[in-house]
Symmetry: C2
Subunit: 171 residues, 2 copies
């Protein structure tokens, strides 16, 4: 498994991966010397950041307001677009990395559900808001790393939350 | 891997799993003789069902209306509560099964995004509606299999969609 991963995105295809990500091999290795671990070493910090933001949101904030606060917090760490783009190309190149990413995202949803419950949000609203929030988190990330994008992560996430309000009220 | 899975939920803990699911071992084996494959053999059919429902929803349906139609369709196959509860206890008992479930859910989201795009829904609304819909799909499933629930899947999903409209308009 370890070997497979290293062969998968380490030895065999670094040049291709770097090319697809639109960076040089040197840039690739500047970010990902540690390879696999480097790819996910920020996820616990990210989770804590979002949980703290939900916990610290104003007492009268709605569940979706709290999610908005958490997404703003994400915007403070999702700032290095080149790194994030490169990272995503690597993940997309390897199925086991994609699985790991899905697990991290699922844990994030569970943690945010818990943070909302701790604020007194009842079920099923806590789960519903957290799942919706993670959906926005995910779509915002894809928009942020999309070619040609110049907006910041938090701004994109805010736009999507506004869009979500329209989508859910179109009927 | 195969062996690990079979040891994990097959040989070693069938009695415990059956007990936790509140069924007899006989019931367990009636549903899951084929074990691992049985657990996911319906997922492609489920995906096709949801995609067809989105594609077949009225021309003037909003993206979320189309999602509602897809969730109604799910209600026509999520009918055997004992089977679904037992299946979930097995999945929850094994990390690699949980991973597989996350992958299936992610594929479902991608397929529904595609079905919405085919109807002319533009990005990021297609992805946003699909991710939100999968969130509802997931929370509805958890509510449906929860102890003591007597409502049908489609009814729960409809209630959650209504709840979502409230949640997204609370501010």
């Amino acid at each position: 498994m370890e070997l497979y991963l290293e062969r998968g995105f380490g030895q065999t295809t670094v040049a291709q991966i770097a090319e697809r990500a639109g960076v040089t091999e040197r840039t690739f290795f500047r970010y990902f010397t540690d390879k696999r671990e480097m790819l996910f070493d920020g996820s616990e910090r990210l989770q804590q950041l979002m949980v703290d933001a939900v916990a610290g949101s104003p007492a009268d904030a709605t569940p979706l307001d709290s999610i908005g606060t958490a997404l703003d917090a994400v915007g403070s760490v999702f700032v290095d677009l080149t790194r994030s783009r490169t990272r995503q190309v690597i993940i997309d190149s390897d199925e086991s990395l994609q699985e790991r990413e899905l697990i991290k995202r699922d844990r994030l949803a569970t943690a945010i559900t818990g943070a909302l419950r701790d604020r007194g949000v009842e079920e099923p609203v806590a789960s519903l808001a957290a799942q919706t929030g993670i959906g926005v988190f995910h779509v915002a990330f894809a928009s942020w790393i999309a070619p040609g994008n110049t907006l910041g992560y938090a701004e994109i996430a805010r736009n999507l939350l506004a869009e979500l309000r329209i989508v859910t009220n179109g009927s």
